[in-house]
C-alpha cells in the first residue's frame, strides 16, 4: 500500500494551512422563563484558529468535550462550511475546491460507522468504490490492509454487527488507509476501546507515521497518546487553539511537569473536569 500520487505543487506547500478559521452555530434559546423573548444565540465552535502542518507531520489536538475538536475535523473534511477565515489542504481551498480536497483526505472517527448488516469486506468495497477503486483492485487490497491493521482476515465476510468495538475500529482504520490518503484525520480513534485494542490501534498509527507519506491530525482525550504519537501537541479550549508546540515545549512554557498540568495552566481547568450543563447542551452541536 502506498499513498496516492502527490498532487501538483504538493512538495512546496504546507499539508494543512488554517488561518483565522471560524465556525458558528446558531441555536434556539431554550430559556424556559415565561414572558422572556425566545430567540437564537450564537455559539462559536471554532474561533480564529490558525495553524500550519508540514507534510508528514503528526499533530495531536487536546481538548475536552465540546472544545471544537470534531468541528475542526469536520471542517477539514469538507463536511461543514466555515463562517470565516481560510483552510487549505496541500494548497487546495477546503471550501471552494472540496472535490480536490476530498481525494487527499480520509478520516477515522470515534464511532466506527458502518452498515452493520454488511460484512467488513463489503463495507470496505463500498467505501473504496467512492474513490474509484474497482472490484479487482479492492479484492486484492482488502485482505492485505486488514492483515496490516491486525484484523483476522478469515472474519472479513462476517457482518459488522458480530464484531467487537475494537475489531470495528480496525476496519475503520483499514477503510481510511485503503484510499491512500495523504492527510489522515483521526478523531478520537481509540476512545472507548479496551486497553489491548487501544494499544494495537496506537501501534498502527505509529507504523503509518514511519512507513507512509501521510500527514496525521489526531484529536484525542488521551494525554499519553498525544504525547507519544505527535510531533506537536495543541490545546483547543472552547473553540480557541491556545497552543501548538512539541509536548516538551508545551510543558516548559507552562512550567508543568506533565501535559495534564500544562493543560490545566493553559485553560484554567482540569483536563478531567466535567463541563457544566450549558456546555453539555452545546456538545450536541459541536461533537
Amino acid at each position: 500500500m502506498t499513498s496516492a500520487p502527490a498532487p501538483p505543487g504538493v512538495e512546496t506547500v504546507p499539508a494543512v494551512e488554517v488561518v483565522g478559521l471560524r465556525k458558528d452555530f446558531w441555536r434556539k434559546n431554550k430559556d424556559k422563563k415565561r414572558f422572556r423573548r425566545r430567540g437564537r444565540r450564537k455559539n462559536s465552535a471554532i474561533r480564529d484558529v490558525t495553524f500550519t502542518m508540514a507534510r508528514g507531520e503528526t499533530i495531536a489536538i487536546l481538548g475536552q468535550n465540546g472544545s471544537g475538536k470534531s468541528t475542526l475535523v469536520r471542517l477539514l473534511s469538507t463536511l461543514l462550511l466555515h463562517d470565516g477565515g481560510e483552510a487549505r489542504i496541500f494548497g487546495y481551498d477546503v471550501f471552494t475546491q472540496g472535490r480536490a480536497v476530498r481525494r487527499l483526505v480520509n478520516r477515522v472517527s470515534v464511532e466506527a460507522s458502518f452498515f452493520k448488516k454488511m460484512s467488513a469486506a463489503e463495507n470496505l468495497s463500498y467505501a473504496a468504490r467512492f474513490y474509484g477503486m474497482g472490484p479487482r483492485e479492492t479484492n486484492r487490497q482488502i485482505p492485505v490492509i486488514l492483515d496490516r491493521v491486525g484484523f483476522p482476515i478469515a472474519r472479513r465476510h462476517e457482518s459488522m454487527e458480530n464484531l467487537s468495538r475494537g475489531m470495528q475500529q480496525k476496519v475503520a482504520l483499514a477503510r481510511a488507509l485503503l484510499t491512500s490518503p495523504v492527510l489522515l484525520l483521526l478523531d478520537e480513534p481509540t476512545t472507548g476501546l479496551d486497553p489491548r485494542s487501544k494499544l494495537e490501534v496506537q501501534e498502527f498509527i505509529r507504523e503509518i507515521r514511519t512507513s507512509h507519506d501521510s500527514t496525521i491530525l489526531l484529536c484525542t482525550h488521551d494525554l499519553a497518546e498525544a504525547e507519544s504519537l505527535a510531533d506537536r501537541v495543541g490545546i483547543l479550549d472552547r473553540g480557541r487553539l491556545l497552543a501548538l508546540e512539541p509536548a516538551d515545549d508545551l510543558k516548559r512554557r507552562y512550567g508543568a511537569e506533565t501535559l495534564e498540568q500544562a493543560f490545566f495552566s493553559a485553560t484554567g481547568r482540569s483536563f478531567e473536569e466535567e463541563t457544566d450543563e450549558e456546555e453539555d447542551e452545546e456538545r450536541e452541536v459541536f461533537a
Binding site: 452555530f25 446558531w26 468541528t71 469536520r74 473534511s77 469538507t78 463536511l79 461543514l80 462550511l81 472535490r99 476530498r102 481525494r103 483526505v105 480520509n106 478520516r107 472517527s109 464511532e111 460507522s113 458502518f114 452498515f115 452493520k116 448488516k117 454488511m118 463489503e122 468495497s125 463500498y126 467505501a127 473504496a128 468504490r129 467512492f130 474513490y131 474509484g132 477503486m133 474497482g134 457482518s159 477503510r175 452541536v285
Partner: protein, 277 residues
Amino acid sequence: MRAATFALRSELIGLAGVVERNFYLTKRYIWWDVAWFFWTVANTLTITFIAKGIEATGGQIDVNRATTSLLVGAVIWAYLGVVFEFLTETVAWERWEGTIEYTFMAPLSRAMHLGGSGVFAIIYALIRAAMIFFVVAAFFDLAMPDANFVVALLVLVVASVSFFGIGMMMAVLPLISPEKGAQLGYVAQGLMLVVSGVYYPVHVLPGWMEAISVVSPATYTLEGMRGAILDGQGYADVWPQIWPLLIMGVVCIPLGLWVFHRGEIYAKKHGKLKRSG
C-alpha cells in the same frame, strides 16, 4: 482526454458501488422485503376489490376493465413508493448507520451518488411492480387480451427519469430535517398521485386539481400504461404521453440535482450532515 476517461471511469465505479451496496442490503433484509411485498399485495387487493363491490351493490360497470384500471393505479402507487423510498433513504439510511459523513466526504459527484440509488431503485421497483401486477391479475383471473406490456414498460421506464428527478428533490428532506424529512417523501408521493388520476380519470377532479395534473409525470404514466394494457395501444398511440414525460425528465433531473445541492449546502452550514441514532 485520458484524464477525462479516468475521471468518468471513477465516477461510474462509484455509481456501481451504490448499486452494489443496495443489492447487499436488500439481500440482508430480504425477508422483511418479502413481508412488505405481501402487505403491498394485500393493499392492492383492497383497492382492486372496489370494482366488484360496485357491481355487487348494483352499479353497472365492466368489472374486468375497472379492476385492471385500478390495478394499474395501485401498482404505480407501489412503484413510486419504492423509488422515492430508496432515494430518500440515500441520506436517511446513511445517517442512521452513521456512514453519512464518510460518504459525503468522498470524492464522488453527487449526481453519481444519487444516480446509483436511482438505478437500483428503478430496477428493484420495476421487478416488484411486475410481480404485484401479475399476482393480483392472477388472483382476479383478469383477462387482458389486447395488452401491450412492452409499451406499458416503455412508458414506465421513460417516466422513471422524471420520478428519479423528483425523488432527488425529496432525498434532500432528510438532510434538512433528520427526524421527519424522510416521512415527508410519502406526503409528496400522495400529493402527486391524487392529482394524477391514480384510481380515476383526471377529468373528474376539480378544475384547479386538473390543471396541476398537467405538470405531473404520473398523469401521463397512468394514461399511457392504461392505454397499453387495456386497449393495446402501440408506440405511436402513446407518443402523446411519452413526449411530455421526456420533457419532464429533462427538466426534473437537473432541477433535482440543484435542489439537492442547495440542501447539502444548508446541511453543511448548519452542521446537519452527521450521524443520528
